[in-house]
Subunit: 284 residues, 2 copies
């Protein structure tokens, strides 16, 4: 697997790059943005994957969140993949919440999505391997986070792969896609109508049978327009309580669903992952 450089910029003493590579999971070229902090010049460092929300590409977080400053302070590589396969041969939908830009971090099994929409395998399996081969990652020191649909992806992927992801957090995540409109639409399209097949992609359902070996950090704006209908953080509180999963849910008065919310709190998330990933032998 090889990365092709689209562009690189010096940023906070490190390098912010955008790359593309042929993906075996999606069968397409996938773009990703990677910040490598100055500490990586001294040796391998921990890394954090950030999964974006509906309509986003690798660019939104990279240009808008200001996470590079915190990553440079803590010495973390930060990786923002795209949210779906893209391109002319890739199925799409006119709606913003299905198809390109809305892969929902699942492996689709229904047509027309099945051939390329394998974002679960891409992020959970292919991306860690790709990153380890291309950047100075410290073995076992990989965390995952995300926003909205990407928060859903981060939680699901961490819960199902705790041996690979040593820390997890989320900003305004979709925690129970089986029970909310965004999730029901996407899961029905990508997986079909049988809700049994949705359980593997539903954080609250997954928590019924397993937990994560570390605290889950979640920030959620109280003025988020999607709070009551799509996000429903109380479901996560209940699911964590039922299995004794440590959860640090921080409700934020006045904050909405935008990148101004993400920018305000992403520093806490970078610090959370840096602390968790600094533990010797994390996730090994």
């Amino acid at each position: 697997m090889t990365l092709t450089t689209i562009r690189e910029h010096r940023c906070f003493g490190g390098v912010q790059g955008t790359y593309t590579h042929p993906s075996r999971a999606t069968g397409t070229d996938m773009r990703l943005s990677v910040f490598v902090p100055p500490q990586a010049a001294e040796g391998p460092v921990p890394a954090l994957i950030y999964l974006s929300g509906l309509t986003c590409s690798d660019e939104n977080f990279t240009t808008k969140a200001g996470a590079q400053r915190y990553a440079a302070e803590h010495g973390l590589i930060v990786v923002a993949p795209d949210t779906s396969p893209r391109g002319e041969g890739v199925a799409d939908d006119a709606a913003y919440d299905l198809g390109q830009g809305a892969g929902f971090y699942v492996d689709a099994i229904r047509e027309p999505w099945a051939p390329h929409y394998k974002m679960y395998s891409y992020v959970a399996d292919e991306l860690p391997e790709l990153l380890a081969g291309a950047f100075p990652l410290r073995a076992g020191a990989l965390g995952i986070t995300g926003h909205s649909m990407g928060g859903h992806g981060a939680l699901v992927i961490a819960l199902r792969n705790p041996e690979r992801f040593a820390s997890v957090s989320a900003l305004a995540p979709i925690v129970a896609p089986s029970h909310v409109p965004w999730g029901q639409k996407a899961l029905a399209a990508y997986l079909g109508d049988d809700p049994e097949l949705w359980r593997d992609y539903d954080t609250c359902e997954l928590l019924a049978g397993r937990s994560f070996p570390g605290t889950i950090l979640v920030d959620q704006g109280e003025a988020d327009a999607f709070l009551a209908e799509q996000l429903q953080p109380q479901r996560l509180v209940d699911a964590c309580a039922a299995v004794g999963q440590p959860l640090d849910l921080r409700m934020r008065s006045g904050y909405d669903h935008s990148y101004y919310f993400v920018a305000t709190f992403v520093g806490h998330h970078v610090a959370h992952h840096a602390a968790a990933l600094a533990r010797p032998g994390a996730a090994e």
Copy 2:
């Protein structure tokens, strides 16, 4: 003068808003983005105007620079106006470096630009008055900065209005527009071919006859693709030296002209203005 709110978001404990208002200078509706820090709830605070570069609107800096974090730390209002008048009745040019998005912070006197392209008067005169009426600005505590074409605008406007602007800085500014292609094209179009008329809009020319009562802070990337042809910071060094103008020019190894450069160093600029504007009686 009244502002119409387009949107507001909570951000770093303050409010990031986008507004529009009818401008007497340009004769059009002008958009601007304003960050009001949490400290403004306690009473009037200093303010910093940031002028953007070619092709930008009020949005680029607001979404990409991450300045809100620093403004919230230091208690500064930060204001990003648009870079030109816009709209259907406003003259434009197909090139990126003339017309809409490229007002160059001059008062145009040539057709077809003269009716609306009055960005000098808009920023130097109308905007301070508008802001003082609409936001909790501390009297006399107004600074100005900018990037590229906006750095040119900030330096010119501060040098010509030291009674109104108590602090000035710039990121990768055009310091001698009379002598570089971007400036020569814009000044000829907006003002005509007589270089005598360009002097009032050329930082290095202005410095021949005056100085600014405070240090000018400038950051400049050494890997900036426009460094040699368009920016030429040595001209500013020489012009400042000739009149004893204090200049703190920081050449930054490896940095280019992008917002990754702006994001990396804007914190130093916010701190520079906060310190200068904290002096009791600044600019009064």
